[in-house]
């Protein structure tokens, strides 16, 4: 049951990702990206990380996609529709991508450490309490640094996007 659902969501997310890369219109790309994020959040639920699934929907589908759609509305995307890919020879990039993919697959699937059928640790899963303790006790300093980075990005985005008043 869970495996079938995983295969279904994985296939849907890969199809959505291909649509994102191959679509002519940036609006279609944005909608495909949103569909892909929804499938990935469903996969997070299957991997027993419900908090991450909800955060994924809130942050990516809720916030980041709205940002993308707003920027698509602000700029003129019609002239970009005409040509999808970079002009010239794309063969080196394709070869590089194929090499990268096969390298990752070979390295992961040939090493026997990841194909073990049973998980090594006791499998009662990660509770929300354990996650919160880990985030707010062990990783408190990175958490605060992340909040400072978010503040800096907020101020930087406002400064970059405003018109110059001089």
């Amino acid at each position: 049951m869970v495996q079938g659902l995983f295969l279904l969501f994985a296939a849907a997310s890969v199809i959505a990702a291909l649509t994102l890369v191959l679509a002519r219109n940036p609006v279609h790309s944005a909608l495909a990206l949103m569909a892909c994020f929804l499938q990935i959040s469903a996969i997070f639920v299957l991997l027993e990380a419900p908090l991450l699934a909800v955060i994924q929907i809130f942050v990516y589908v809720g916030a980041i996609m709205v940002l993308f759609i707003f920027v698509i509305m602000m700029v003129d995307v019609r002239e970009a529709v005409l040509q999808r890919f970079l002009p010239g020879n794309n063969l080196p990039a394709m070869v590089l991508l194929a090499l990268l993919g096969t390298e990752m697959l070979v390295l992961v699937l040939w090493s026997g450490a990841f194909s073990a059928a049973t998980p090594p640790a006791g499998g009662e899963g990660i509770g929300l309490r354990q996650l919160a303790t880990s985030l707010f006790a062990e990783y408190l300093l990175p958490f605060e640094v992340a909040s400072v980075i978010l503040l800096a990005a907020l101020v930087g985005a406002i400064v970059l996007a405003q018109k110059e008043q001089r």
């Binding site: 495996q3 970079l86 993919g101 990005a153």
Partner: protein, 100 residues
């Protein structure tokens, strides 16, 4: 119970597709969206390994990745809006201000 290597193969597939979008597409907006896809495939790996080893640190790192991604997207789209205002183009090979 989902085998670990299924999640890893899914992460690899999404990473390669996203990298293809970053390397091959001409539109800067689509390049940014493909970048989001790359970061998401890494998140799948973090959560799959955290689930496999019953370790909460995978989810903690995924939360940090999501936070940094939100900051990155805000700054990148701000730069994009400023770029379009100065030099009305969305094609990544037209942006040669820094002689790259």
């Amino acid at each position: 119970m989902v085998p670990l290597w299924w999640s890893i193969v899914l992460g690899v597939a999404l990473f390669v597709i996203g990298a293809g979008g970053v390397l091959l597409r001409r539109n800067i907006l689509v390049v940014l969206m493909s970048l989001e896809l790359l970061l998401n495939s890494v998140n799948i790996n973090f959560i799959a390994f955290g689930h496999h080893f019953a370790d909460s640190r995978g989810q903690v790192f995924a939360i940090f990745v999501i936070a940094i991604t939100a900051a990155e997207v805000a700054v990148a789209l701000g730069i994009l809006v400023a770029l379009v205002r100065n030099k009305s183009t969305l094609r990544s090979d037209d942006v040669t201000l820094m002689k790259g």
